[in-house]
Amino acid sequence: MKDYLLIIKTEGSVWTDLSKEQLQKHLEHGTAYIGNLLKEGKLKNANPIDKGSRIVSENKGVLKDGPFNETKEVVAGYFHILAKDINEAVDIAKANPIFKDIPTKIEVHPMMPVGG
């Protein structure tokens, strides 16, 4: 089994753009999805992203930080999963029910194994 990092990027925010009814559905199928991954031993860690993100950048040797650019694309969270190969990792990403709630992109990154 290999490690993969799934980064969830939504168009708009689940927290502001969904109605109560949609939030309930989001919760219901979200918990089912995570529950399944746990049962199959494929989920190492996962976390939603909170408010108050900042971005640090450098310009002509000067480091500055400011509020995260409020583009429509919002990093909603991440999943650290275990899968036998990239195809399985992609299938796991495709099965995420967040696609039903809000326009979403999921980046699937193979994590380089580092000794330890």
């Binding site: 109605s19 309930q24 918990t31 995570i34 860690n45 976390n47």
Partner: protein
């Protein structure tokens, strides 16, 4: 973040009741509006929304708790306490009058969310939202948003309009509450009857919006009808209203009508008339509730239009078939109804009942009697009814004329297609 800290193993996943979030939201907004004051409905909504966000973040990774409502209320209460403690709250958010009133909690211990409080607060909210000085469109929008937990896009979709329109209605409603200093109170004494009548009118309006346009694809609109029923149920569960027969009558009317809802379309989504409906698809459990409330509505001798309409609905519900419907009794009820309400719709429905008892010729004569106002001349069902009478009398060319008048006036596409089918039928018969 070390692996597995937030994630716990779950053997089973707790299920949430249908629309739990929406309904809990309605309760919580009502309570917090009482605590923050009616001018601060927005603040109440923000706190409730934040509580839900927090709930979901936790529950997704830690499992849905056994008592989700209690969890939500606890979080909302803590947020409310934090807000009240801030000096900013007293100086910026509340008026002098509100501070003097009994509403401001002096200590944390006054913040109780008991069942009685929750019921009281929802009723206060209902009377504030349905205040007669607010336009009915705005009343309905505000009720759906605050008491029923609908979002602006959902309300816009339900009323076939856009978000700006709904937002304007909400802004106007909130402005009216501030400017007219509409209190968050359940009225009593002489004021009660009038105010209650206004609330019931709004609830019935909401019900009809949901009921009239509902088919499988418009599930959201049927949910409006369900919400109307739920709001009326909240009213009757409060002891102050147990002798108000109008509420029971309205509740009976809505439940009896809604019980026949599922049979109104066939598997392809086409509308079926009462005559063609498969009565085994009716919701007999809901119908029974309607009958029970109809009984309760007969508690005194008052007869509102809700009583009479509920009676008509009851006769339809208790008929084993269209042919065995007790039209004579229905006609009697309509004849009583036109004394209270002689609007064209009522006159039209009475004409239909009359034709069932006395024949289509008399039905047509009755239609001629209806004063031709703009509202009846633009009402497609007037022409549809006329057409059906002509069809019964085998006067197909006249029927064709009537249907052709009806088609451009029919508001929904599927109604137009039903009419076109009828037109085809008449053309075949005429040739």
């Amino acid at each position: 973040m070390s692996g597995g800290e937030l994630l716990t193993d779950r053997d089973h996943i707790n299920q949430l009741a249908d629309h739990l979030f929406r309904h809990e939201s309605g309760k919580m907004v009502s309570i917090l509006t009482r605590i923050f004051g009616p001018e601060n409905i927005d603040l109440a909504e923000d706190v409730v929304h934040d509580s839900f966000v927090e709930a979901i973040m936790h529950w997704t990774y830690q499992a849905i708790p056994d008592n989700p409502s209690a969890w939500l209320f606890r979080v909302a209460k803590n947020k409310a306490i934090n807000i009240i403690n801030r000096e900013k709250f007293k100086t910026q958010y509340v008026s002098e009058e509100y501070l003097q009133s009994e509403r401001v909690p002096n200590s944390m211990s006054h913040l109780t969310f008991s069942d009685e409080e929750i019921l009281d607060d929802q009723l206060r909210m209902m009377f504030a939202c349905c205040h007669p000085s607010i336009s009915i469109d705005s009343q309905v929008a505000l009720t759906l948003k605050t008491l029923c937990g609908f979002s602006i896009p959902e309300i816009a979709k339900a009323f076939l309009t856009d978000r700006e329109n709904i937002n304007k209605r909400l802004v106007r409603a909130r402005q009216k509450i501030r400017s007219a200093k509409i209190p968050l109170e359940v009225p009593y004494g002489a004021d009660m009857e009038k105010r209650l009548s206004s609330v019931l009118e709004t609830i019935y309006f909401l019900f009809n919006e949901g009921y009239n346009a509902s088919t499988g694809e418009d599930l959201l609109r049927y949910e409006l009808a369900e919400e109307a029923i739920r709001l009326a149920e909240i009213i009757v569960s409060h002891p102050a209203f147990k002798d108000k027969s109008d509420v029971y009558a309205l509740l009976a009317l809505m439940q009896l009508d809604a019980s026949r809802f599922k049979a109104r379309q066939d598997n392809d989504g086409n509308i079926l008339t009462l005559e063609k409906q498969d009565r085994s698809a009716w919701d007999y459990a809901l119908m029974e509730k309607g009958f029970i409330n109809l009984e309760k509505a007969a508690m005194n001798s008052q007869l509102s239009s809700y009583h009479l309409l509920a009676g008509v609905s009851a006769y339809h519900c208790s008929a084993a078939s269209y042919e065995s419907t007790d039209w004579k009794s229905i006609l009697e009820l309509y004849s009583k109804l036109i004394e209270i309400d002689n609007s064209p719709v009522v006159l039209l429905n009475r004409a239909i009942a009359l034709s069932k008892v006395n024949g289509a010729e008399k039905g047509l004569a009755e239609l001629d009697q209806i004063p031709k106002t703009a509202s009846i001349e633009k009402y497609y069902l007037f022409y549809v009814t006329q057409a059906e009478f002509y069809i019964q009398l085998n006067q197909f060319s006249k029927a064709i004329e009537s249907i052709q008048s009806a088609i451009p006036l029919a508001p929904l596409t599927r109604e137009k297609s039903l009419l076109r089918k009828r037109l085809e039928f008449c053309r075949q018969k005429a040739s």
